[in-house]
């Protein structure tokens, strides 16, 4: 298997695995919010502070970032053909997504630690 084929297969696998996690998390979180009548600041923060929930949210952030990376990467590869421009756009995408991930984790941590 050549390097390029392996890389495509890896992206394909990441896309599927993260998709399944996002689906399961959505069902779990959706069912949780639908079954509890109370809404508002306190129930929201309490839900996030639950150890199982905040790890699940952390994994969700990670899964979403990988998923967004593969999807947006595919769009760039489809429409941006010039090698230099393609590299620049991919680099910007990667940096923005990593920054978003760090930001989201920081927010999650402030809830957990407080």
């Amino acid at each position: 298997m050549t390097e390029q084929v392996a890389s495509g297969l890896r992206a394909w696998t990441i896309q599927r695995l993260s998709a399944v996690y996002i689906l399961v998390f959505t069902l779990y979180a959706g069912a949780g919010f639908a079954s509890r009548g109370a809404s508002g600041f306190e129930p929201w923060v309490t839900w996030l502070r639950d150890p199982f929930n905040n790890i699940a949210v952390g994994l969700f952030i990670l899964a979403l970032l990988f998923h967004a990376w593969v999807g947006a990467r595919d769009i760039i590869l489809d429409y941006v053909k010039a090698p230099g421009l393609r590299l620049v756009k991919l680099a910007v995408l990667a940096l923005v997504l990593i920054a978003m991930g760090l930001w989201a984790f920081k927010v999650l941590l402030t809830v957990v630690i407080r």
Binding site: R16, A19, L23, W44, A68, G71, A72, M100, V107
Partner: protein, 126 residues
């Protein structure tokens, strides 16, 4: 062979009648892109929502603005369409619904369910 290269291309996407499977596929990509664009706004709302009860209320109030409601409708549809279309792709990956007729039916289901549930969900949230 030379003749083939000079053949005119006619790929005006607005004039080609696309099969439902293609519409759902393009919808999947557009929905995904819209959600990627929404990421920083969602994290910002997340940040405000956990900082204090007052900030939480301000996010809720901001989401009631007509412009925010419009964007919310678009994002709810994006999420549902992407989710259902993604499930359809995962099923096709494991050889479920590969035949042309089954693929068309599932594409119509994805398209219809996403629109229907968007309307229902927004009715519930009000």
């Amino acid at each position: 062979m030379d003749k083939n290269k000079n053949r005119p291309k006619y790929l005006n996407l607005l004039k080609i009648s696309m099969p439902i499977t293609a519409v759902v596929s393009i919808g999947h990509r557009i929905a995904g892109l819209l959600m990627v664009i929404a990421i920083p706004f969602v994290i910002y709302a997340f940040q405000l929502s956990i900082s204090s009860a007052a900030e939480y209320a301000s996010v809720k109030a901001a989401l009631n603005h007509p412009l925010a409601q419009g964007i919310l409708v678009l994002l709810v549809w994006s999420f549902l369409h992407h989710l259902f279309s993604g499930m359809r792709i995962l099923l096709i990956d494991i050889d479920v619904g590969v035949s042309r007729s089954a693929a068309r039916i599932s594409a119509w289901l994805v398209y219809g369910l996403a629109l229907l549930l968007t309307i229902l969900l927004l009715g519930v949230m009000r």
